[in-house]
């Protein structure tokens, strides 16, 4: 099966949701007019609002249902009436009952009501609260992590720091995810080397996750400056051999596209069956993990 992926490295205007919807509408229109098949469009973390919102997040957050309705209306306005549906992966500030989350929505946008649906919402588990980041102050942490059904089979989603912990990708891969989508907002730091330090780090992370589990990994990185902090871009689509199929430029808006051949997962796993090995050793490791996670009377050992 072929799965046609596009990633939009977008530059939002802080808190200007109307601008962002207009810009996303233009992007959907461009993709619709491109006369190339497209199955899923992946957008960055906090793609329509900007990342550093502080207390402003309460003013721009919306419910998943409202957000989905806005995206569906936008899709129907921006694309031809007969066009096939497009799945969308998009980071947004979510209000759920009385709580706020840094979330990512996976939904199918369609002109036909019966095809339009919310598949999954992942709420960011690891909220960075150090250095330039202050997420725990403003949002609640997500508790769940699981793959979900899409038109391309099981997929998983992680948000930014979620992917810095190898255990999250492992859980999704063990659960059957064939593609992991990772919306990211990463401000550039480290200008000593050939590439900005965190661009290199993100590529290594995506490639390691893909290669270890023989899955596809798609990152979508925000671009633009927020209060002097410039987001890196450099989004990648990585195949199950850990090879970067396409890479977005640093700091610039763009679309990157790739056609994923999902048969390559089985081919890669035949050559390097690490995920199968892990499955067979899992009971022992789960036991070891439970032991390592036991509270120590003298506090954390790390």
């Amino acid at each position: 099966m072929e799965w046609h992926v596009a990633v939009a490295q977008l530059r939002p205007k802080k808190g200007d949701y109307g601008y962002a919807l207009g810009h996303l509408g233009e992007t959907l229109g461009q993709l619709d007019g491109a006369n190339e098949p497209l199955d899923v469009l992946v957008l960055p973390e906090m793609a329509l609002t900007g990342y550093f919102l502080q207390g402003g997040i309460a003013e721009v957050a919306r419910s998943t249902e409202q957000f989905f309705a806005e995206l569906t209306a936008l899709f129907r306005q921006a694309t031809r009436a007969g066009r096939p549906p497009i799945d969308i992966v998009v980071g947004f500030p979510e209000r759920r009952e009385s709580r706020l989350f840094n979330s990512v929505l996976y939904a199918t946008l369609s002109h036909r009501q019966e095809e339009s649906r919310i598949h999954h919402v992942h709420r960011k588990i690891f909220l960075p609260t150090y250095g330039v980041f202050d997420e725990k102050r403003y949002v609640n942490r997500g508790r769940g992590l699981a793959p979900f059904e899409t038109r391309a089979g099981l997929a998983g989603m992680l948000i930014c720091e979620d992917a810095w912990h190898t255990i999250t990708g492992t859980i999704l891969a063990l659960g059957g995810a064939r593609i992991v989508y990772i919306p990211v907002a990463s401000p550039a730091r480290g200008f000593e080397g050939e590439v900005v330090a965190n661009v290199g780090r993100w590529h290594r992370l995506a490639q390691s996750m893909a290669e270890e589990h023989a899955i596809f990994v798609v990152t979508a990185n925000l671009v633009g400056f927020e209060g002097g902090k410039g987001f890196i871009g450099g989004s990648v689509i990585v195949n199950p051999l850990g090879e970067i199929l396409v890479e977005g430029p640093m700091g610039e808006e763009c679309l990157i596209r790739a056609t994923l051949d999902l048969e390559e997962i089985a081919i890669a796993r035949a050559g390097l069956p690490l995920l199968g090995d892990l499955e067979s050793q899992l009971p022992d490791l789960v036991h070891a993990l439970a032991q390592a996670a036991e509270p120590h009377p003298e506090g954390p050992r790390s």
Binding site: R11, K13, K14, G15, G50, F52, L53, Q54, G55, G56, A188, F191, E192, G193, E194, V195, V196, G224, F225, E226, G227, G228, G230, G251
Partner: protein
């Protein structure tokens, strides 16, 4: 291949002295590109300004900012303002001209002597420090007024070393709304200036605020920027003082830098407001600058 009985070859990790000369070296091409993006984004996309106005002092910081702005916005969108005082070193004025001529940017010269002397005429006991502060603040009055005149955004030129050492006039040099150099140590400013081929006269001369005749930054501090920047780098990265002393930095250098750093936190903040409510601005009511 090792012969039987022969000792194994030993490979050692490369050690690097903590004060290696390339400690703070940047990729100048990557850094320049990013700073140009920053200027275009902050000016045009976020604020809708097409033009920049820069106080051109004749020193390397403002010269570098002028070069970056000319590259980012086009020289036709950059206005350089030279603001000499009557005791300023004439070389500063000449070096300012060198920058505006090389870049082909619009240049204006506004002598701040009448406005500074008008105030100081009634302040006969003002010492060099007070006079220097008055000059720095007068220059900002001029720069912001010229900003209005040309519909051009004032661009700051203070570097990270000055900011950390508190070597600037509060609410003067630090007042322009955007600044591409604020996270660059002085030694990194020099590195970028050489990469962008700024005039050698400007890059190689001793740094000076030129507020007092014969003044240089390094004489004011009592330490060279090359050393101070390394110490600042380690202190900001979380290395304790005794680590620095164990790794070859002298106690007097470390103490000097730490005293200036610790004594100037207030200069890197806005005013201190008395908090009376749980909606106090910047304490409770938190919104980013670009919200």
């Amino acid at each position: 291949m090792t012969a039987p009985g022969e000792p194994l070859p030993v490979l050692r990790a490369r050690s690097r002295p903590p004060d290696a000369p390339d400690l703070l070296r940047l990729n100048p091409q990557l850094t320049t590109r990013w700073l140009e993006e920053f200027l275009r984004h902050e000016m045009r996309f976020r604020r809708g300004f097409q033009r920049a106005v820069i106080g051109i002092s004749g020193g390397v910081d403002s010269a570098l900012v002028a070069y970056l702005c000319a590259r980012a916005l086009g020289p036709e969108n950059v206005v350089g303002v030279r603001m000499p005082y009557r005791t300023s070193n004439p070389e500063s004025l000449a070096h300012g001209r060198l920058v505006t001529e090389r870049l082909g940017i619009e240049e204006h010269t506004i002598d701040i002597s009448p406005m500074v002397d008008g105030y100081l005429a009634n302040q006969p006991d003002a010492d060099g420090r007070r006079r220097g502060n008055v000059m720095a603040r007068a220059r900002m009055i001029v720069l912001f007024d010229q900003s209005e005149r040309f519909r051009a955004l004032p661009i700051g030129t203070g570097n990270k070393s000055e900011r950390l050492l508190g070597y600037f006039t509060w609410h003067a040099d630090d007042s322009p709304p955007i600044n591409p150099l604020g996270d660059l140590f002085k030694t990194q400013v020099w590195q970028l200036a050489r990469y962008l081929e700024l005039p050698a006269e400007i890059v190689e001369k001793p740094a000076s605020a030129d507020l007092i005749v014969g003044q240089t930054d390094e004489a004011d501090f009592g330490i060279a920027y090359a050393r101070a920047d390394q110490i600042l780098h380690y202190l900001l990265s979380g290395y304790p003082v005794d680590w620095l002393l164990r790794h070859g930095f002298t106690a007097s250098d470390v103490a000097l830098v730490k005293r200036r750093l610790d004594g100037t936190h207030w200069k890197r903040h806005l005013s201190t407001f008395a908090m009376l409510s749980s909606t106090s601005i910047h304490d409770y009511y938190l919104r980013p600058v670009d919200y």
